[in-house]
Subunit: 194 residues, 4 copies
DNA sequence: GCTTAACCGAGACGGTACGTCTCGTCTTATC
DNA sequence: GATAAGACGAGACGTACCGTCTCGGTTAAGC
């Protein structure tokens, strides 16, 4: 019976964690552009090779350090499309509007968009959990008869994510408690009805 | 009697234009990150100082080369809020979803967001024309009784701009003819009515 | 009574040979500087530790792989000092002017000279066999009355070795068949008499 | 009439000198292998580019810093070949057996020998002044009838230089006052006559 | 036949140097 | 004083080796 075990000395889990932690700290302290691989390695007490062995470059490392959390929460199910969208939007706010995300996202998205290899992963990297939930939410809404036909999930999701990113991440508007509700309201019932 | 005329040799207007043109070309050819001040100067047949004398850095230069067009078109006035918003959204698409803008915006917005001095100018730099129009549109809609109370202009504008930027600029979705109409529809009448 | 036998698994003789062979090949193919321990280990199908267990570093390994041949030939005895020196010089040419030696010697001597621990072994490592022979040759020449007093063996040997190394090893002069005879002639009878 | 003057800011002579001085000091303090371009730049208070703008790499820089002195002394003319060779040999000792040369030469010659582009320059770089003098010395000796036929200048020069390098530079033998005279004696009158 | 200890291939580890690139400033001679 | 050219100090980039270490596994000698 062959083993799956890779040959050679196994990678040290603590090295991985030290790099990820140092990355997170550097981003919070000095922003995305002010964070260099050298500085991360130095702060983590690690050689540069230990980083390049695991990640191809800064974008992938920062992405994993800040955004690769597996989303395990339950899918919203409030009984109405408006309520479900509001909860999902709140999740987007929670993901995109944290101090660390605000510090990293503009530069990180720019690097992802600039590299052809990363560009294809943009949606799956940053919106995958939200998208799966949104599909389910709209399926249920369709079953209830709330909406007719096929909803444009990607466009609506991009609208919500873009709104959060632009409003809080770029423009730096204070993240008011009602933001998610207002955004959800806009896309579900429209401006005119408020 | 003092003259406004600066002492010494006046700046050459063609130098300015050569720099702006070279910047535009470089951005289209090599993207934002692949465009260096050195390369712009070289392509424009100009010294680096001629650039730094006019702009503090790459972000300001690229911004002026690609986005500082004065918007002189008439404010939309279709008679309905929905129609006006649709036209305004189309203007946003025209501005944010061109090939040059797609190539420059992610990196440019990242640089603006990273620099405290530029950060404060984000809204005025990229959304100023649209914002003035939107205020007028909503004022008229309020006068017609279409909406009640004060509309949250900035949030709605960020939503529209964020949607365009995220959907086309980052995710690379095709810029379809109906995009502006669909987006305007989402924010004015909501998802449910489609 | 303790045995000299080391505990544990004995070293594999084939590992040793594979390393030495790979070293020789790498030196011939890529030169001294272009030969890394990593590459030797890889070519030999061996782990790096198998090398470092046997040699402290690249200089010692390359030295053993290329120069540690035991010299078992007979001491020259032609009846005249000139004849004996000619034969001994030929042996130096044979040792220093081979393709492998030419590829390795400059870098190898530099590493030996740079490391204090190796520096003391320079003469014994590279000139030991020739020196022993030379002492005998000069003893016989003194007994025959060919020379008077104590000959400066080291200086003469360094002159011969330096000449071979400089002329062929560094300057890359073609190794003509008469080289050894000419050199021996120079140091025994002087320039003027040719 | 066009000027030969290069465009742009001229290179600062003091930068050049600072680099050369720092190189000399580093070599004396830490040897050839222990001298990095980074450390030279740092000690000279200079950016790395200022070095790479002037020299292709460490070998060329160190060569210029330590050996590129123009030899302006008069050609020896003592009236005898032996006397002239003795003086020329003394010049070789003066060049090759200084502390700085001893620290740099082994590694420097190895780097020159390893690089095809530098290899061709070995003789002209390190032996040019001595060779021109030797040709003249031998010409005069021929005119005086001291020697017959064509002397093998390169071989004799390599022998002398190799002897000095090997004896003092590599083996670390003390550089005695009589060294040059002894070497010259060996090559001119042979071992036997001493 | 079990234990023990050094060997083995593989490759991760913290460091260090490399040579290239870009940044924004500065220093020339020329216009 | 603006200009084109390009030198300048600084420092990040990603690559290559260094010599050590840590795995799972192998191979003999000594009990």
């Amino acid at each position: 019976m062959a083993t799956d075990r890779a040959a050679g000395r196994p990678r040290d889990r603590r090295t991985h964690e030290a790099i990820v932690s140092a990355t997170e700290e550097m981003i919070m302290l000095h922003g995305y552009a002010g964070t260099s691989i050298n500085a991360i390695a130095s702060r983590a007490g690690v050689g540069k090779d230990a980083i390049y062995r695991r990640w191809p470059g800064k974008p992938e490392l920062v992405y994993e350090a800040l955004f690769a959390r597996v989303d395990t929460g339950p899918v919203p199910d409030t009984g109405t499309l408006a309520g479900d969208v509001a909860q999902l939007t709140q999740a987007l706010v929670d993901e995109f509007a944290t101090p660390a995300a605000t510090a990293a996202l503009p530069g990180l998205l720019a690097d992802f968009a600039a590299d052809p290899a990363l560009r294809t992963r943009l949606r799956s990297a940053f919106l995958a959990p939200a998208r799966a939930r949104m599909v389910e939410i709209f399926d249920r809404a369709g079953a209830r008869g709330e909406i007719a036909g096929t909803a444009q999930v990607d466009l609506i999701l991009d609208t919500l994510a873009g709104a959060v990113f632009f409003h809080v991440g770029l423009m730096g508007e204070p993240r008011t408690a009602e933001l998610a509700a207002q955004l959800a309201d806009i896309v579900t019932t429209g401006i005119g009805t408020r």
